[in-house]
């Protein structure tokens, strides 16, 4: 039985990185076959950039990513939308089966 590694990254660690560092960190982890879970998550802009970066790396052995997250929520004073949690994994390993505003259900299977 093969194993799949899961990396759970704290918001503090993520917030200490620049946008590009974050994307590189996530994509490197996913390309190694890991599931990466980010506390605090990525903004919609960062997710779009991640999709763009992913597209440049898709090939025969890497079909892309599966990404799932809770939608951002308005903060107390409506100043900034606060992102929550984001899960990213290799598309051939992770599959989201159910998702709503506060619940994400995925299946992870070894290839």
């Amino acid at each position: 039985m093969s194993e799949i590694k899961m990396d759970l990254i704290s918001a503090d660690k993520i917030n200490a990185m620049s946008s590009m560092e974050k994307l590189r960190f996530v994509l490197d982890g996913v390309r190694e076959g890991n599931i990466v879970i980010l506390e605090g998550g990525l903004t919609p802009e960062e997710q779009m950039q991640l999709i763009e970066l992913t597209m440049t790396e898709i090939g025969e052995e890497f079909p892309g990513i599966e990404i799932s997250g809770y939608p951002a929520k308005r903060g107390l004073f409506n100043l900034r939308k606060k992102t929550r949690l984001t899960v990213i994994g290799p598309a051939n390993v992770m599959r989201t089966i159910k998702k709503d505003k506060d619940l994400i259900s995925t299946i992870v299977s070894a290839v």
């Binding site: 903004t43 919609p44 763009e52 597209m55 025969e60 990513i65 939608p71 989201t96 998702k99």
Partner: protein, 243 residues
Amino acid sequence: MTGRTRRKGIFARLFRALLFRRATAKIGIYGPPNAGKTTLANQIIHTFADENEDIGTSTEIPHETRRAVRRAGILIDLKKRTLQNLGHNSDENPTTSSGPAPFTPAEAKSKLRLDIVDTPGLATKIDFHDFMAFGLEETEAKKRAKEATEGVIEAIKWLEDIDGVLLLMDATENPYTQTNIVIIGNLEARGIPVIIAANKIDLAEAAPQRIADAFPQHTVVPISALKGDNMDALYREMTRRFR
């Protein structure tokens, strides 16, 4: 103080209105692969520009469109459209006569000049095996996958030049996907106006209400781009939101 700011506001607005007046709005048709973006673009062009012109081909194979294509200078003219409808409805197409209510005179005057940009479908994964399942040879499937990845990047880059978005979703599918959420989040962050079109309502499994429930803060117009159902409601919404 307030008087001065207000006057400045008026001047600034006048200045903008005179100098930076947008002649045409660039409207991007966005959405996941196979939502019906090219079908909708063709439908709009057939109705308001040239009934023999296609912006691209639509097929059931995803990532058919792999380059963004712009069709410039389309005049959405609600009045003309209403007249056309009156001409057609009575005998040829009885179903649309029970469609949307006729326009009020003010609405019927509305015109909107725009460029349509048909974009490649947005996705987070592109697996060439999926194309082989549609009967493509391996080399062809790999080539298509490569072009599709470039297409996604092109669609994202186009967002920088877009004034408004028609976001298309297939109403027979679950709308609450990360791709849809990411597109909407980016449009909101950039302040780009968006109309969601719940497409394929001619199919029995279509559930446009599910889309409205998933994105309650946005306008959702149920349509069939293929059959032309409820297009008047979409055009009316476009003339309201995209000027």
